[in-house]
């Protein structure tokens, strides 16, 4: 493929950041025959990414047909578990379904491998990959973004795509967004624990490349806003906590200690026993839902993925990778037609947010717009877990006192809990509406 640039610019498109959003955008545009430069600050794509997690990857079949068969996927998630943790107990909502193995909507991935693979697909499609280079600034002329500056060098393009993640320096520079308020941000601290494949399959009751994903609330964050997660990879477990920054700052707790505490909780420890720590790291997560979405274009600039604030934390699922891929697909479509028409104006690129609104990205962001507010409710992280475990204790602790109906048991548990019935029902309704 011809990747030489057209006359007046170095590249048709420059994409900053080779995460999922950047790589998918670059790939789609290169397939259309445009010259694309993909700049990544890490020494190689994925090398800066300790993260992993559950990728709701349906969208990838459209972005890169054959993704499920050829991408480095760890496991297909067929068991989802929501776990309410107290200091000495846990109540699990465990959902396993063979249909999930057939439809494959969620897979566990390790980003170091996935990002490297995505970038390799890009290069094969003709993208010029430039690792080890940090984009320092956008170049603007007359209010239009015309290129990037990195080191002492400048390169020009018709369109620049900011795919530089949750901290997006480029968006802040372009005035697309200001610094996020703390309550929109969370910090994720995570470990990858190596265990033999057989052990993982036994402990999680899995076979073949089926996998399990746990979302945990309550004691794992010492009742702070956030939650814990535990995913199975082929030969390792991704496990850690996500903590809301405002809560964390207020509490004076240390995120590393909360992470360690969660990993040594009896409910978690039994899964990890005998494992070897392979990776440890932390990263910011945006979890503001639609409240964080801001305008996503400037003349000559589009913003995709985390940089665009596209993450959803519903308590059940942390989603960002699928939204990154979906936004990339939408952006690539719009940039492709802009390039074909030679029109990179605000009006032309504004087709992108409209496109997002039409697909699952915009719609889900709207559907779950109340989720962050719901998750701001402090009871979510402590009292409800304790309430549930008290109810279950009443059901199963047959201590020869006469049993009562479940409703009465719930009533007792509520009485002993700082929670009141009405607000609890209200929260439950809010939850059902938000999620």
């Amino acid at each position: 493929m011809d990747t030489t640039a057209t006359a007046e610019v170095d590249f048709d498109v420059i994409v900053a950041g080779a995460g999922i959003a950047g790589s998918v955008t670059a790939y789609r545009l290169a397939l259309q025959g445009h010259s694309v430069l993909l700049v990544e600050r890490g020494p190689s794509p994925g090398s800066k990414n300790l993260s992993g997690g559950v990728f709701y990857c349906r969208v990838m079949e459209e972005a890169m047909p054959g993704f499920l068969l050829s991408a480095p996927i760890e496991r297909r998630i067929t068991r989802n578990c929501l776990s309410f943790l107290s200091a000495s107990s846990f109540v699990n909502l465990d959902y396993a379904d063979d249909r999930l193995a057939q439809s494959v909507t969620a897979v566990s991935v390790l980003r170091a491998k996935l990002d490297e693979w995505l970038a390799a697909q890009c290069e094969e499609a003709g993208v010029m990959l430039m690792p080890g280079v940090r984009v320092d600034a956008l170049i603007t002329e007359d209010g239009r973004v015309t290129g990037i500056r990195a080191g002492g060098d400048e390169l020009s393009a018709h369109v620049v795509v900011a795919a530089d993640g949750v901290n997006s320096l480029l968006c802040r520079q372009a005035g697309v967004r200001g610094p996020e308020p703390l309550k929109h941000l969370a910090v994720g601290v995570k470990s990858v624990i190596g265990l033999p494949r057989r052990v993982i399959e036994e402990r999680f009751n899995l076979s073949g490349d089926n996998g399990a994903a746990y979302a945990i609330v309550g004691d794992c964050t010492k009742d702070l806003g956030g939650g814990g997660f535990l995913y199975t990879n082929l030969e390792s477990l991704s496990v850690g906590v996500v903590l809301r920054l405002d809560d964390l700052a207020r509490s004076g707790e240390s995120s590393a200690e909360l992470h360690d505490r969660f990993l040594t909780h009896p409910a978690t420890e039994s899964f990890l026993r005998g494992g070897e720590l392979l990776e440890y790291g932390c990263h910011l997560v945006a979890e503001g839902g639609l409240a964080m979405a801001h305008d996503l274009t400037r003349p000559g600039l589009v913003v995709v993925g985390d940089a665009a604030g596209l993450t959803l934390n519903t308590g059940f699922t942390v989603r960002g990778m699928d939204l990154a891929a979906g936004s990339a697909l939408a952006a690539a479509g719009v940039v492709d037609s802009a390039l074909k028409r030679g029109d990179y104006s605000q009006e032309a690129l504004d087709a992108y947010p409209r496109e997002l609104d039409k697909i699952f990205v915009g719609q889900d962001m709207r559907t779950f717009r109340r989720a962050p507010l719901f998750l701001e409710n402090p009871h979510m992280y402590g009292d409800y877990g304790r309430l549930l475990s008290d109810i279950m204790y009443g059901v199963y602790n047959l201590d020869t006192t006469p049993r009562r109906h479940l409703a009465a048991g719930v009533g007792d548990a509520l009485k002993n809990s700082p929670l009141a019935l009405l607000p609890t029902v209200r929260d439950a309704l809010a939850g059902v509406r938000a999620l």
């Binding site: 170095d10 700049v39 020494p43 190689s44 170091a112 491998k113 490297e116 010029m128 430039m130 690792p131 080890g132 280079v133 990195a150 080191g151 002492g152 060098d153 390169l155 070897e276 392979l278």
Partner: protein, 245 residues
């Protein structure tokens, strides 16, 4: 003088994973330019004095590293057995050099990351080798003067004929190439040769690492807790000495 610079031929030992039983593995770790590679490149460009500098690598990924620093072209040896066998790597590199006629010197980042490859390379070429090189210059008569550091001493050696120079960096790279240089470098010619075509199939190359050990750690110091106050003072003093607080 025509010069070959070997680059991106080792893994950074800091990237190795050492597990609890001292087994070493390299999950996903790529061959990388070492801190010494840029120094080798710098000396090569100066020595060549306008003659051809050829980059030679066994790495994958971005192979334009030398081209971005002044090499006219690059030879990429593909499919080497990697860290498993330094003798085979050295032999493949030597054969690749031999196939380029008229090479006056091979420069390579020093051996701290892998002693065996450089020895095998020099041995296979049958050329003299100098390690710890910090500078090199060519006189008008074509005589090579090589400066090397030996402990605290600095030696200047005269060398005749083709040599292998293992270069030690004394500072970080000064002029890291920018995006434009890298982009231009990718347009320079790069030739791929399969290691299998360079190696003699009849020879069983075998350099195996037999074991590793953890570095020595100083013995623990036990503070007597009999008198808590003194113990605290001693602890704080000890932490200060270690630079912890």
């Amino acid at each position: 003088m025509k010069i070959v610079v070997v680059f991106k031929w080792a893994r950074n030992p800091l990237d190795a994973r050492v597990s609890a039983d001292a087994a070493v593995s390299w999950p996903g770790v790529k061959l990388a330019a070492s801190d010494d590679d840029p120094a080798a490149m710098e000396i090569a460009v100066a020595l060549a004095a306008g003659d051809e500098v050829v980059g030679l690598t066994i790495g994958d990924g971005d192979t334009a590293w030398a081209a971005a620093r002044g090499a006219a072209r690059t030879v990429v040896v593909t499919g080497t057995p990697g860290e498993a066998d330094s003798a085979a790597t050295g032999a493949a590199l030597a054969e690749a050099v031999r196939r380029m006629a008229g090479v006056g010197a091979v420069l390579i980042g020093d051996s701290a990351w892998d002693y065996a490859v450089i020895s095998a390379l020099a041995g296979r070429l049958g050329w003299p080798a100098v390690a710890g090189v910090t500078a090199a210059a060519c006189s008008e008569q074509g005589e090579l003067r090589v400066t090397r550091r030996l402990g605290a001493a600095i030696q200047v050696l005269a060398a005749a004929g083709p040599v292998v120079l293992a270069v030690t960096a004394s500072r970080a790279e000064k002029n890291v190439p920018g995006m434009k240089e890298v982009l231009a470098a990718r347009k320079k010619p790069a030739e791929k040769i399969a290691a299998a075509d360079l190696l003699d199939a009849a020879i069983a190359y075998r350099v195996q690492t037999q074991g590793t050990r953890f570095p020595d750690t100083p013995p623990a110091r036990v503070i007597d807790g009999g008198d808590p106050r003194t113990a605290c003072e001693q602890l704080i003093a000890a932490l200060r000495v270690e630079g912890v607080i």
